[in-house]
């Protein structure tokens, strides 16, 4: 057992204890377990949201791509900003609808707005399927941390299984309320660690960040412009990816539902104003990736770049601290994603299929069962279908960003009905899946998910217009137009 590994384990142990204390006393039911009893203060809600923004992806994925791809990784710095700008306009009306209609989950919104159980079920299913690669990313990241911190003594497969066990224990013991408290520890350590290593590492080897960058430009002249270290990720890919992921930011089931728990509209808007500054630590993470490329070129797995460089440059206890922060940074989002995915499955897929005669207790049990099932699927994928961390997140975005037309039209256009949205959603997902499986991502220089989104929007709008034309000709709908 190495020193870094011991520090990491101690860190995880403390976090779990905080999680258990944080969940408070009293009997557990689905409401409390999944939405914290709906009594979260504003601060806790927004801490949870920040907890979603800094994940293993930020820590290891962003540095890994800065190391291996260079400039294309800059999309990570940009897309959150687009997401917050959209949220400024989209979340307040969503919040109003959620409040007046008593909505809890994302499929609840689709059910209430479009009055279509089929659409709601489809959204729940796509949401859960898209969460799986996001979860896989967290498990794989946690596995990498344990593997690297043990100096390679623990095989990465074993490390991933350990990561899976840790996450399951954590989510079973803590629930959402516990996780929210651990998110505080996680965010503070994460920001402190990123500032220390993001400025410290370039200075240690090159004197300053600026000198590190000019050395990088001298040795790898094309690394800091598109397409960087790739051949396919040019300007078109970056623009389409920024748009796809920016649009998709609040389409994630957990981000979407987070707006429901805010106190009022003003809070939502004010947060949208300051949230772009949350992206700044990502810049420092890039610096670590660049430094690693100069100091330790040729790493087999670029996602280990940050950890490998930290282990090489700092004393063992500090490396352990970084690993521990990274580990909790994986466990908190993984637990939240598991909770959301299992609640969606139980509430919006399992219950409607059972015909509504399901007690709260059965629902809670089903939810826990689904949680284990989803976690096992993510585990199997992490073991047998490893992929770059950034790639995994983009896969998830390819799926959930397809909700965007249905959400925006649902909020702002009263006349839109379920059928065009279903057609668009199915068309978009079909395009995405076939492009990725046939190896055509990027397609014509654009992100496959973005191509899917274009097709999706086009099909939705065309079938909505066509439907109206048909309505006017055949049915002579007697209902008054709600707009006029």
């Amino acid at each position: 057992m190495t020193t870094p590994l011991l520090v990491i384990l101690a860190f995880i142990l403390v976090s779990t204890v905080v999680g258990v204390i944080g969940r408070g006393r009293g009997a557990m039911n689905l409401e409390r377990w999944s939405v914290g009893g709906r009594q979260f203060g504003v601060i806790l809600v927004w801490l949870l949201m920040a907890g979603e923004i800094y994940t293993t992806f930020t820590f290891l994925g962003a540095s890994g791509w800065a190391y291996s791809r260079g400039a294309p990784s800059f999309y990570i710095l940009a897309y959150g900003t687009i997401g917050y700008i959209i949220s400024f306009f989209l979340l307040p009306p969503l919040w109003r609808m959620a409040k007046s209609l008593g909505l809890h989950t994302q499929p609840d919104f689709f059910l209430a707005r479009y009055n279509s159980p089929a659409l709601a079920g489809l959204v729940a299913l796509i949401g859960v399927v898209s969460i799986v690669p996001y979860l896989q990313l967290q498990l794989a990241g946690l596995g990498l941390i344990v593997h690297t911190a043990s100096g390679g003594a623990i095989a990465s497969e074993v490390a991933i299984i350990v990561a899976f066990a840790l996450t399951c224990v954590f989510v079973y013991t803590s629930g959402l309320q516990g996780i929210a408290w651990v998110a505080i520890i996680k965010d503070i350590t994460m920001v402190v660690v990123v500032v220390i290593i993001g400025i410290g590492l370039p200075s240690m080897y090159f004197g300053s960040v600026g000198q590190m960058l000019s050395e990088l430009v001298r040795r790898h002249p094309s690394h800091l412009t598109f397409p960087g270290g790739t051949t396919t990720m040019g300007v078109g890919w970056v623009i389409s990816t920024i748009l796809l992921t920016g649009v998709g930011f609040y389409c994630w089931p957990h981000m979407f539902a987070s707006a429901f728990s805010a106190k009022d509209e003003r809070t939502i808007k004010r947060n949208a104003v300051i949230m772009p500054l949350y992206q700044l630590p990502i810049l420092l993470v890039f610096f670590v990736g660049f430094t690693a490329l100069l100091v330790m070129p040729g790493l087999k797995n670029p996602d280990t770049a940050l950890l490998a460089l930290v282990m090489r440059s700092y004393p063992a206890w500090f490396a352990g601290l970084v690993g521990g922060a990274g580990a909790v940074t994986a466990m908190v989002p993984a637990s939240m994603l598991l909770l959301v995915a299992s609640t969606l499955t139980a509430k919006n897929i399992y219950r409607p299929l059972r015909g509504g005669a399901v007690s709260e207790e059965q629902l809670m049990r089903a939810s826990r069962g689904f949680m284990l099932l989803i976690a096992v699927v993510a585990l199997i994928l992490a073991l047998w279908s490893p992929n770059e961390l950034v790639k995994l997140l983009i896969f998830g975005y390819d799926g959930i960003a397809q909700f965007f037309p249905g959400i925006v039209l649902g909020v702002f256009v009263r006349r839109i009905t379920a059928r065009p949205v279903i057609f668009g959603l199915v068309a978009g997902e079909a395009v995405v899946v076939s492009l990725i499986w046939s190896g055509h991502d990027p397609f014509l220089g654009m992100n496959a998910g973005f191509v899917g989104l274009l097709v999706n929007a086009l099909v939705t709008l065309l079938s909505a217009t066509w439907g109206q034309v048909l309505n006017h000709r055949k049915i002579h709908d007697p209902r008054p137009d709600p707009i006029t």
Binding site: A71, A78, I85, F88, F89, G210, L224, V235
Partner: protein, 73 residues
């Protein structure tokens, strides 16, 4: 659609459009800005000023919605 919605859109969308639409023209290393290559400085710069633009949108939103408060909104 209330008029305040459109007014606030202008400052809010400016950084998003500028950041993305500018990318084909700023895909270069020179000039170096505060030690950062130009492409990275461009993206970072827009991220940094977005809160100011959104703050302006917030104020526009609030002043117009205050004027509409009479109708019970």
């Amino acid at each position: 659609m209330p008029i305040r919605f459109r007014l606030a859109l202008v400052p809010a969308l400016t950084p998003a459009v500028a950041l993305v639409a500018g990318l084909p023209f700023v895909n270069r290393l020179e000039p170096i800005v505060f030690g950062l290559p130009f492409l990275l400085a461009w993206i970072l710069g827009w991220v940094l000023v977005t809160p100011a633009f959104l703050g302006l949108a917030y104020l526009l939103d609030r002043s117009t919605s205050a004027a509409e408060d009479g109708d019970g909104r």
